[in-house]
């Protein structure tokens, strides 16, 4: 006897799983169960920089980014909960000619898609970010509508709305296997018992590829550790926009509570599951802070932590249904930008599951692109 039965089981209570569950319920699906091995928002979603931007370098990501900004701007009203949206923009910093050229190319593309981003002078950059010192920078781009939201509030808001629509959330429940019968999903096996269901959505974040392996699907995906830190609160206006550089390998931003958050990619991108914080990051990131924002020298770091980036071969998400197992859907490998896309990707995957088609195209995100050699090359990723 199964412990429970469901129409859809969502694996993972991160922002993607919660957004997907909410949109599925909103589309009329009954009997949805979200299974989370820890607590809701304990994975990457609760550890992220939570930046939101439309400054991308491919048409697909620009369209996603723009749609996400529109959703975030209306999310508080829709979900009846504050999601901490702050639109102080993203200020991109280039240190190399080739990099600045690329940023300018990106701006052209963005403008053609209705995103009013622009190149800004150093003086303007200093106005936008009063604490900034970037004498060695070659150029800057800026888009005012970019910004960030509170990752906890956003995830909890999706969860609370999903709950109101009848979705059941099981925390401290780990999926350990998936049973397939006649080429279709039959049962999700958890450490608490079995859940019979015809449909599974893999939204397991850093463990996305481990869940795929349960149906013998090997994806070109791995997880890597990214460190991040936060300072004590200081007076506002030091660094209101998200300050970001691809070649400088950093992102920094002051939150509305006055604290400054900043992180970077690990050099060499080691494959790691170890989320214990490391000291070399702290020293490196402190140097980045004091170089970019000299007046932060005397402020203190109060916390550092780490989370997983689930990376695919081309650093773009994987969305779609498994080719050999009916009812096994996936939404993951967000490669470091899965928070901002969640309001839109959650809706799109729900449409694919319920209707079999989507309002915005996502077929290019199916994992078959790797076998077909149709990788998506996005120049604007950190």
């Amino acid at each position: 006897m199964a412990w429970k039965t469901a129409d859809i089981v969502v694996i993972g209570g991160g922002v993607q799983g919660c957004s997907s569950a909410y949109h599925l319920a909103k589309m009329g699906v009954k009997n949805i169960i979200v299974v989370e091995k820890g607590t809701i928002c304990s994975g990457s979603s609760g550890r992220c920089g939570a930046g939101i931007r439309a400054q991308w370098g491919t048409e697909m990501n620009c369209r996603f980014g723009k749609a996400c900004l529109e959703r975030f701007e209306n999310l508080e009203e829709e979900l009846e909960m504050n999601v901490g949206l702050d639109q102080s923009g993203y200020l991109m910093v280039a240190y190399k000619d080739s990099e600045f050229d690329q940023l300018k190319e990106n701006i052209k593309l963005q403008n053609s898609l209705g995103i009013d981003s622009r190149v800004v002078s150093k003086d303007e950059a200093y106005e936008i970010c009063p604490g900034l010192s970037a004498d060695d920078a070659l150029g800057f781009t800026f888009y005012q509508r970019d910004g960030h939201a509170d990752p906890f509030f956003t995830t909890f808001a999706f969860m609370e709305s999903a709950k109101r629509l009848g979705v059941e959330f099981l925390k401290f429940t780990e999926v350990i296997d998936i049973k397939v019968e006649n080429g279709a999903v039959k049962t999700v096996v958890t450490d608490k018992g079995e859940i019979d269901t015809p449909v599974v959505l893999n939204a397991a974040g850093g463990f996305f590829h481990d869940i795929a392996e349960m149906i013998d699907l090997e994806l070109p995906v791995h997880s890597e550790n990214h460190d991040i830190l936060v300072t004590e609160p200081v007076e506002l206006g030091v660094c209101p926009p998200m300050l970001m550089s691809f070649s400088g390998n950093y992102y920094l931003q002051q939150r509305p509570d006055g604290t400054i958050v900043g992180g970077c990619s690990p050099v060499g991108h080691p494959i790691e599951y170890d989320l214990r914080s490391n000291f070399s990051f702290l020293e490196h990131m402190a140097s980045v802070f004091t170089k970019l924002l000299p007046r932060t020298r005397d402020i203190r770091v109060v916390r550092q932590w780490a989370g997983l980036y689930n990376m695919s071969l081309d650093c773009q998400p994987i969305m779609g249904e498994a080719e050999h197992v009916k009812g096994f859907y996936m939404t993951g490998a967000f490669s470091g930008h899965g928070f901002m896309f969640a309001p839109v990707t959650g809706e799109l995957i729900a449409q694919l599951i319920v209707r079999g088609n989507t309002d915005m195209p996502i077929d290019m995100l199916h994992y078959r692109r790797f076998a077909e050699g149709k990788l998506i090359i996005e120049p604007a990723v950190v």
């Binding site: 490196h284 802070f289 402020i299 203190r300 550092q304 990723v381």
Partner: protein
């Protein structure tokens, strides 16, 4: 007199600030525990409790006891929640001096 007394009682039951750093009240903590956010980490993410400069030294125990009281679980069952470094806040300038490397060195044009 009665007025003062009842005011005092209300203050004790509701608006006691359990986390001075982040100004989180007992009332707020109780509201979220009753809605199912019954671990320290969840309450932390939702209210900011324990995320101030004292890193929860001033509030963790009170919150843990409140979870235990409301859920009927023991403190062992609830667990402690995650402790994060640096336990004592350190100045960025001090850390910078400890770093011998140029921050731009070894920079990667990443994925």
């Amino acid at each position: 007199m009665a007025g003062i007394c009842s005011e005092k009682r209300q203050y004790e039951e509701g608006d006691i600030v359990v986390c001075r750093c982040k100004e989180v009240t007992l009332k707020e903590i109780r509201k979220w525990i009753s809605r199912g956010y019954d671990t320290f980490d969840e309450l932390k993410r939702l209210t900011g409790v324990g995320m101030g400069p004292c890193q929860g030294r001033g509030c963790r125990d009170i919150v843990m006891k409140e979870i235990a009281r409301m859920t009927g679980k023991t403190l062992e069952e609830i667990g402690t929640g995650t402790y994060r470094p640096p336990v004592k806040p350190v100045k960025l300038g001090m850390l910078t001096e400890a770093n011998k490397e140029d921050p731009w060195k070894g920079k990667v044009v990443s994925h």
